[in-house]
Symmetry: D3
Subunit: 291 residues, 6 copies
């Protein structure tokens, strides 16, 4: 169960409205790596968890914080939009550079659809979608996804930090940046703890029998381009992070097989094939049955 309190975790009031920046801020609310994504991602990972205890508690504990961040950003965006201009015709824009800039830079649906309101969309107006989240049931894979999400999120907040000089907005962003710092550290540490505890390990998934894998191909870097510098990387020689092999470098594939012959599906699927006369056109039956 979730309980709501009519308070915010941190100050979220802009010095002044700014409909252009409101649109930019939609990215970190409703974009691929926005707050809706992490809130839902941690929720679904918790609901799909198979172990009680610290890992699941962690997911529940931070998931609810992220729903609060969704609200914090939503409240901020609504305030940034509060004075969004109503008269927005081409003629008005042409005579007023400020209005012209706002018209070009703001999300028109914020006005038309939401009445100067916030929406669950990104900075280009693409609706948030469930396919942004990851919750596979495998915790090492998922915590790596979480670390990535917090990294992408902090990069995006850092970028929009420089797109405003509003002190109120920047104060809230400085808080979100700090929380992203925490969450990057946290997921990296939690992923490490999973490996230290032997609960999960690379190559993920731990429990898939390596004997089912074509082990000859497990540690070879195979270069399919003509740049040579990748051979210098630590991924091209030396021990592998999973502790089970040594990297090697190949300048192109060392295996190949001929392309299998084209398929010959049932002629009644009416693809184009080399035997177009298989069907008796008067009768609609196959004259010469496929073997």
């Amino acid at each position: 169960m979730f309980f709501h309190r009519q308070e915010l975790q941190f100050t979220a009031t802009p010095d002044k409205p700014d409909a252009i920046f409101a649109r930019r801020m939609q990215e970190v609310l409703g974009g691929q790596y926005g707050e809706i994504t992490v809130a839902m991602q941690y929720g679904f990972q918790a609901w799909n968890a198979h172990i009680p205890g610290k890992y699941r508690d962690l997911l529940y504990g931070i998931g609810a914080e992220e729903f609060g961040h969704v609200e914090m950003l939503a409240i901020m965006i609504a305030q940034l939009l509060e004075k969004a201009p109503v008269e927005q015709s081409e003629a008005a824009a042409a005579s007023d550079p400020v209005l012209g800039a706002v018209m070009g830079g703001m999300d028109v649906q914020a006005a038309i659809v939401a009445g100067a309101g916030v929406r669950p969309v990104d900075s280009n107006g693409n609706p948030w979608q469930g396919s942004y989240i990851t919750a596979s049931g495998n915790m090492l894979a998922d915590f790596t996804a979480n670390a990535n999400a917090e990294m992408q999120g902090r990069v995006q907040v850092a970028r929009i930090y420089n797109m405003t000089d509003d002190h109120g907005v920047r104060e809230m962003l400085s808080f979100l940046l700090a929380r992203d710092t925490m969450h990057q550290n946290q997921w990296i540490r939690a992923a490490q703890e999973l490996r230290e505890a032997g609960v999960e390990d690379i190559p993920v998934p731990l429990n898939f029998p390596l004997s089912n894998e074509a082990r000859d191909h497990s540690y070879k870097y195979i270069n399919f381009s003509d740049g040579q510098a990748a051979a210098e990387g630590s991924w091209a020689s030396g021990p592998t992070p999973d502790g089970k092999g040594e990297f090697t470098y190949l300048d192109g594939p060392d295996t190949s097989v001929p392309m299998p012959p084209p398929t010959q599906p049932d002629p009644r699927l009416y693809g184009t094939d080399a035997k177009p006369n298989l069907i008796d056109k008067a009768e609609g039956v196959i004259k010469d049955k496929l073997s």
Copy 2:
């Protein structure tokens, strides 16, 4: 530039057709973490790279391999579909349990749209989409995204491995599993090398001035749920992976601010507000201008 050779990197021929398994295999071709995703992700990361040399060469070198895996899976799926049944009415299904199972389990669009062919979709028929990929220009964030993609991918291949006992299919999957093992190791190692070289570091992005961050909140685990076990994790005490702090644990938020007052946008956006009489309904103008 890309050049094509009419060979495959590894054997990709099933022992027998299996339209049900063909659908499952679509997930690792056209799903969120399928081969199209990694091929396009590495391509866009290369095109957005800002440094010449080993990291970009790595992206080019593996990206082209993944386009070959797209082809390998596509060829396999087309063969699995080769004998997909054409008569699929309810009556036929009812009298033939095999047909009934196939009808329920196969992707109907494989027959109707592609004529027993492969399509750029996942196992539920959702089209592949550009929002599956990540290419932010920040390499540590992106390599972490890549490690995650290879983990999720290997988990999915491992899962479908158990959904078939076709030797030809399993042989190809054993190869893909091995390559996923390589790529997990590779991206983890490459991410580590970025940090060792000081090119990028956590908290990502390295270059954002920490003085702009509310550092008081950078290393606190704040529990917004009522489970207590997360306090036991290594993310709740001890040094942080970024080497710049110590984790602390809080059982709930230590800051809060009152909810800001509701917004009062221009009444001509016709939201519902407390002063519904601002507009002169005969004239259509605002009687009492907002300050």
Copy 3:
């Protein structure tokens, strides 16, 4: 069957082109609550209707009108785009404020994709989609959906009315506003008639046996936030609109159950669980079968 006449129901000619306003008008053509939505929604409701007679005739009668409104808006938008500028480089925009405003405010795909033409998209360029419509076969639910669609539609038209001062455009909008007024009244009245006739009633669906419902929980307002004012509403005490109960107010949930234990799916799905050694890694079989 549908028959087309090369006339419009009302005048739809702008005084002058305005590519910026054309984009705004796309919202009420191809947006979530645009004319394509209501035309398709009434069509599908008619095709899914289970009763012949006045309700179905109503759906057919208004559905065809709405397809005409789709055309009316499409024709208007094409005219608004007629003089959309072709030279749109950054340099040109920088030196010409009018052009700069137009470039920022118009839909670039209107020029590149449609050659100054109209498209089935909303004001942010999101394609119209079938998931915007509602046609459940339950008429009271669907007529309520229709009332909502006409309300949202009229709000949006009212908003864009203030974004232009073109007399031709406003004249057409004044007509659409009048039709939305009619349709709001109509669906509200039709929903009421369904209830008066006993054909359908709240709680929708009428025919689901109330004895299958946990009636103890059917009329309680349960407050999961900390605001107290909702207790003052007529939804917190007094008789319920369905005539079958009395509202009560609870300041928080009066029931709760412990969270069920985490799931333990088949280990061959390779989720992370507390018993990672269930699989014999050499053999790939489950050693200790799940009960």
Copy 4:
């Protein structure tokens, strides 16, 4: 801010796993009218509210309950999937009717992507999307949207109630049905209260000056089909619900204008027009400037 408690509002444990029903239940979790939709819808309406007090408290109070319902359904679905079969080949399905039925009826991504887990998708695997919600800032329109959402939701729950005979599942559904009954009554009552209080009224939006509307067309039912029965409805004669007019019935449109002439955009958009020689093909300039 949101706070999480590791309890559920009501019992949510199935008697036995049922992967087929799990898929059906995804509809009322992640579908157009599932619990994610109402939770997010009430949240965004609260954040976009312009009046403090009872209406906004109502949105906050019920929004948080709905997030708890998201969790309740998610936990239930994960349990229903707990024993989802792993071996799912065509051969296995053909020899085992139970397995064949499960393979056809379950969501394959629940196994492959989530490891027998729940996902933010509907019963066909379409990801939940932000365009399902409505939050316009106009409360009468939005509360009507809410009433519709609760009606559609209760219809869907009633339908899936008959698709299972699992007592545990039915017990939870009986609770959800009761809450939908409450919420239907609540939104209908709240919409009525808005009108009684004069805060908002039909035609929505109240504040748009009716003098801007083509009032001649505001109360006419215009029949664009050839069924005659709609003339018998209370929407074709008698007083209108907004109290401002009388319905009339027209058997076809009483207005029409000729189709405007086709547009003539800039020839450098290369549409096909009647004057294909406007451009000097050697020079690439327009010979005969458009007026």
Copy 5:
């Protein structure tokens, strides 16, 4: 304007319900190349037409027919679903092969969402979307798109013809096949007429000055794969269909340029680059301005 008549163009009544076939038929209603697509495509092409007369009349004349086909298919699908089973639990499916087949093969949302009704989706439940249509304003390109749509549509109808033996269904399909035959012929002929009349021609668009094109590369087949047989085609030698050149064949590219150097965007976008110390981390300003 569109007018509706409560008749169908052709008989559309199945001999018996068949929920499995209903799902297949959704493809030709709401799929990429279904009837909704062609109806909307011809409509938007008409609204974007720049020439009055026969071409635009053709678009209007056939567009309205296609809207009638949408209705015909919708009515047929609703009838096929009329007896869709309600009890659909795993247990029921396991004991009844017919039910098991139906459950696996039917669209579950047809029951849960639409109450045995038709929906604007394809055979996998993907909603119809506006990006399926093409209306560029260039008639030769668009008529070619139309020819393709009618070809794909007829292939799909031919495929599903073999998936049923219901006489009523087949009768309607035989009519749709005939209309697709007409429309293929019609668009091919109309495209030819555009060229004969000199209104438009290949290479489309006619009016773009060929002097702006790098004519050296306009008629070369360049082989980027290692198959040699394409050299035998009539596209590799001989006159080109546009009458302006001769095809030639190249076994690989005859031009290449080095890859441009990586980009160096503003360091405050926090991408990873070779000069990570450009930003003064204490001050947040760029130390060494980019030139």
Copy 6:
């Protein structure tokens, strides 16, 4: 297999950055008819081909070229974005017309998400999706789709050619225009060759027995609008392109059937029907079984 070479087929370096034009160029990279579409379309058609030899080699040979064009455009876009402005607040835009124009005209996600990088999206930021491509297995239909794609693509490139005066950009566009000219000619010629060789023919698909088609309706133009000019076209009289009939012209449909009666699905789907008392509300069973 695909192999990558770190060279481009043609020069792709702009004279100067132009973030506005970068957004326009995204259309021909990631739009419905952009380079990603044709690359993937030719790839999937090759993988679904049923005949070895010249047609499949053609698909492989050109498909790989198109992947190179994806790269060429991506590299160009990244360079156009290289100097995208970072400070983009409303205040800054208001005081600087150049910045205001750029803010309105550029894709904000290019900065926030990709750090001045290219993305797999169109010019409105809609992600590329798999449903853009066509690969039916029927080569005449698919080659017609290809001809259309190359026509739409060349129209779009021609349009954006006039939106820049950058010599470097125009040089690359002149090359793409030439390749589109080649590919239009090529697909038209290849489609013709399929027909000449009797491998496939119109009406597509060749092999569907015409005796299954309602031949009375195969060559009639039926006018569902009131324009008369379409009777003048060569599609209204004279021989049909398939060589099997004569066009005729009808001013309206010559067949019609009454609308079938509304459906009566199982009352436990809770649609609204004329017999609402079928269910015993106390017992939840159907009192009067449907026949």
